[in-house]
């Protein structure tokens, strides 16, 4: 069992937890992920590591409540334990040798983008961060990003905070002015990553994306997480989760991501009903 030592709500639908998992904390690097099960008979869900403290032996996860399992997870409190917590899985984000990078985070993807930005900052790279959210209420990790970015741009869809618009707007502006990065690293919803890649492709700007498909074991065994990258099938769990964004077939990834949508919606509704009953 893996104890929850800290729980903090970042916004109404996004929660941070520090989980006691000393061996994972010692090994996990930015870009890698873990798989957890909330309870016995629970499903296995992958979450990218949002940070770790090898000294305290804790791993930080940040998750958005999007379905039954994350709903259940959010009902666990400090001192409770998770049934399973496996990792670190996948390949770490390649940060060596990068001098100038644009890190783009969208929504809860910012939680995964942050450790990458931090690592790059620590290695002395010049980090430009573009963070995008739907509205002001959903903004997370702003101060943390500012602390490791030489330039920070906040975007909201409705303009309630920062600039109004998508993350691609300031990106396009920079690229149009002739600015170039060793890499653009984009982490967020598939649709955001797709449009970041369409934008950077025009300027031949190298772009890396972090994929988060459906998976079960996370060790290369099931192949459920397969993606088409440059015409070849890749397993996100062992070959990724980072890939050259210009080669990823995003339409296929989005389609595959919806494989179990009716089941997931039903399970989520059931979980909500259950918790409403309990809460009352």
């Amino acid at each position: 069992m893996y104890k929850i030592v800290r729980k903090k709500s970042l916004n109404p639908t996004v929660t941070l937890m520090d989980i006691e998992a000393p061996l994972v904390a010692k090994k996990a690097k930015a870009g890698q992920f873990i798989i957890l099960r909330v309870d016995e008979d629970g499903e296995r869900i992958p979450l990218t590591v949002a940070g770790c403290d090898p000294e305290k032996g804790t791993v930080t996860i940040i998750f958005q409540i999007v379905g039954a399992t994350t709903e259940k997870l959010n009902h666990k409190e400090e001192g409770d334990s998770l049934q399973d917590f496996v990792g670190p899985l996948g390949m770490p984000t390649k940060v060596e040798g990068l001098k100038k990078v644009c890190v783009i985070g969208g929504g809860v993807g910012c939680a995964i983008a942050l450790p990458v930005a931090r690592e790059l900052h620590k290695l002395g790279a010049e980090v430009t961060t573009i963070a995008g959210f739907r509205n002001k209420d959903l903004v997370i990790l702003e101060d943390e990003f500012k602390a490791c970015s030489s330039r920070f741009i906040m975007m909201t869809d409705d303009g309630s905070y920062g600039e109004k618009g998508n993350v691609t707007a300031p990106l396009k502006e920079m690229l149009e002015k002739g600015e170039r990065f060793d890499e653009v690293i984009a982490i967020g919803p598939l649709i955001m990553m797709k449009f970041v890649c369409l934008t950077t492709k025009e300027y031949d700007q190298k772009t890396v994306v972090s994929m988060n498909p459906i998976m079960i074991d996370g060790t290369g065994m099931c192949g459920g997480c397969r993606l088409t990258v440059g015409g070849e099938t890749k397993f996100a769990c062992v070959d990724g989760p980072d890939f050259d964004g210009h080669l990823v077939d995003f339409d296929e990834a989005m389609s595959r991501g919806r494989s179990y949508q009716p089941f997931e919606r039903h399970a989520y509704e059931e979980a909500c009903n259950l918790f409403k009953k309990e809460v009352r």
């Binding site: 499903e43 296995r44 060790t219 290369g220 099931c222 192949g223 989005m254």
Partner: protein, 472 residues
């Protein structure tokens, strides 16, 4: 006088049209009377051809003699001298190619039902003498076993009985390897596997789940920092193969590993499971091995109306056990042999937001004919020109075999492997690294439970000799 009836006692089974709608075990096992009767068919040959057919050399005539006397517990004791998982092997071993394949009674009629007797004896023991084994005195030496499938469990059990302090590392949340994620409940009830794992724990073996060796700890760290004097790698062959044909990444296309893992390990066959699985109407399973049969029969039980086995060679060449093929046929699985898919076809929906977009609609196949035998000794399938045809399907399951997982190889400098990632090991299981042994599918590529057990056993003996030699 032996019982000279030419046929085996038939195995009591659930009716095919009942069992293809539930996940309970298909075969029900012999009664004591049937077992005694079957045991009396054994001729007790002096040269014991059956034993030479058993990868772990169970003293078959001896245990059968005990059964014939009605001493079922005595029979169990004979088996357990050689095998640590008789309840498993009695169910999943390909006996027709092993012990029973060599049985003299098989020359004129059917061989003795050795597998069915083994299962009866193991089940009898579990029911009547279920005291957990006692942990032996520790000898003060630490060993690690990576992977808790048949090879790892056997190796760990043997080493624990010798007094070693054994830790088993398992990547998944449950121990058992392919016995829990691959082989379905209706063929091998998971309670049986759990019992074997519990017995190991009673012997003092520590089982650490959620540990992906290669990532959380490397082999080098296990040796240098954790002080394991010897390590056994039994990580199996978990990497699924695909055909690399168009449409393989459509929704509704699974590897057999994924389909079976969802159903078996994650219990997606249950109504209340948190893990989803597709309940398809028309399913094509590509491949002809035991895994293909398991996937097809699982799909049928999940409610499919028509389930096809699509296999490029003929019925004669199916690599699956005969019993599994027969069970599948009885349950209504349709065999489309001499047939090979060339493309998986999508629905004609083009709007990416439409829920029907990106799903399988069918498969395009070609007919095959058999030519000259290839390097495997089986006749090579050749495409019949102009034989393309299409079948409507809403689910396609690829059961084309698996390769060893590359994770250990890629994180263990100096560990030699072969073309498909099989770990190079000598006849004792020794790898290219001192003190590190390997066995089972990780070495051979996908094979059988019993061969993996045999390899685990051999390696345990070699690891014992290695540690004793080093400390002498």
């Amino acid at each position: 006088m032996p019982n000279m009836r030419a046929t085996k006692n038939p195995m009591p089974s659930q009716d095919p049209n009942v069992r293809n709608k539930n996940f309970n075990e298909v075969t029900l096992g012999y009664t004591a009377e049937m077992a005694v009767d079957e045991a009396q068919r054994c001729l007790h040959c002096k040269n014991k051809p059956c034993v030479s057919g058993c990868p772990v050399n169970i003293q078959i005539p001896e245990f059968i003699a005990k059964v014939a006397e009605g001493d079922f517990e005595g029979a169990y004791q004979v088996i357990s001298l050689s095998s640590s998982l008789p309840a498993v092997c009695g169910r999943v071993c390909p006996q027709e190619n092993q012990c029973e394949g060599k049985c003299v009674r098989g020359i004129k009629g059917e061989p003795v039902g050795i597998g069915r007797l083994e299962r009866f004896v193991a089940d009898y023991h579990n029911e009547h003498n279920a005291l957990p084994p006692k942990a032996p005195e520790k000898n003060g030496h630490k060993v690690a076993v990576i992977g808790s499938g048949p090879a790892g469990l056997t190796c760990a059990g043997d080493l624990a009985k010798m007094g070693y302090d054994v830790t088993v590392y398992e990547a998944l949340h449950l121990a058992g390897g392919v016995l829990v994620y691959g082989i379905p409940e209706f063929r091998l009830p998971k309670a049986i596997v759990q019992k074997e794992v519990d017995n190991l724990k009673a012997l003092g073996v520590k089982v650490e789940t959620d540990m992906v060796i290669g990532r959380i700890l490397t082999i080098e760290e296990l040796k240098e920092e954790y002080g394991y004097e010897s390590i056994f790698i039994g990580t199996g062959a978990g990497l699924p193969r695909f055909m690399n044909i168009p449409g393989e990444n459509l929704k509704g296309v699974y590897s057999a590993n994924e389909f079976l893992t969802r159903s078996n390990l994650m219990k997606a066959y249950r109504e209340d499971s948190a893990t989803p699985i597709q309940h398809a109407k028309r399913v094509a399973v590509v491949g002809g091995g035991n895994v293909a049969m398991d996937a097809a029969r699982t799909a049928k039980r999940l409610g499919a109306e028509e389930v096809y086995i699509v296999y490029r060679r003929g019925m004669e060449e199916l690599p699956a056990r005969k019993e599994e093929v027969e069970h599948a046929q009885e349950e209504g699985i349709i065999f489309k042999t001499l047939c090979n898919p060339v493309a998986i076809l999508p629905t004609d929906v083009t709007d990416t937001r439409d829920p029907a977009y990106g799903w399988v609609k069918g498969i395009r196949c070609v007919e095959m004919e058999l030519g000259e035998p290839d390097e495997s000794g089986r006749r090579r399938p050749i495409v019949k020109e102009g034989s393309e045809f299409e079948l409507d399907m809403d689910c396609v399951i690829m059961a084309l075999g698996t390769s060893p997982n590359p994770l250990i190889k890629s994180t263990t400098p100096g560990l030699e492997t072969k073309r498909r990632g099989e770990i190079v090991a000598d006849e004792n299981g020794l790898t290219s690294i001192e003190g590190v042994y390997a066995g089972g599918d990780a070495v051979t590529g996908a094979a059988t439970v019993i061969l993996a057990m045999g390899a685990g056993k051999t390696a345990a003996a070699a690891m014992d000799a290695y540690i004793k030699g080093k400390n002498a």
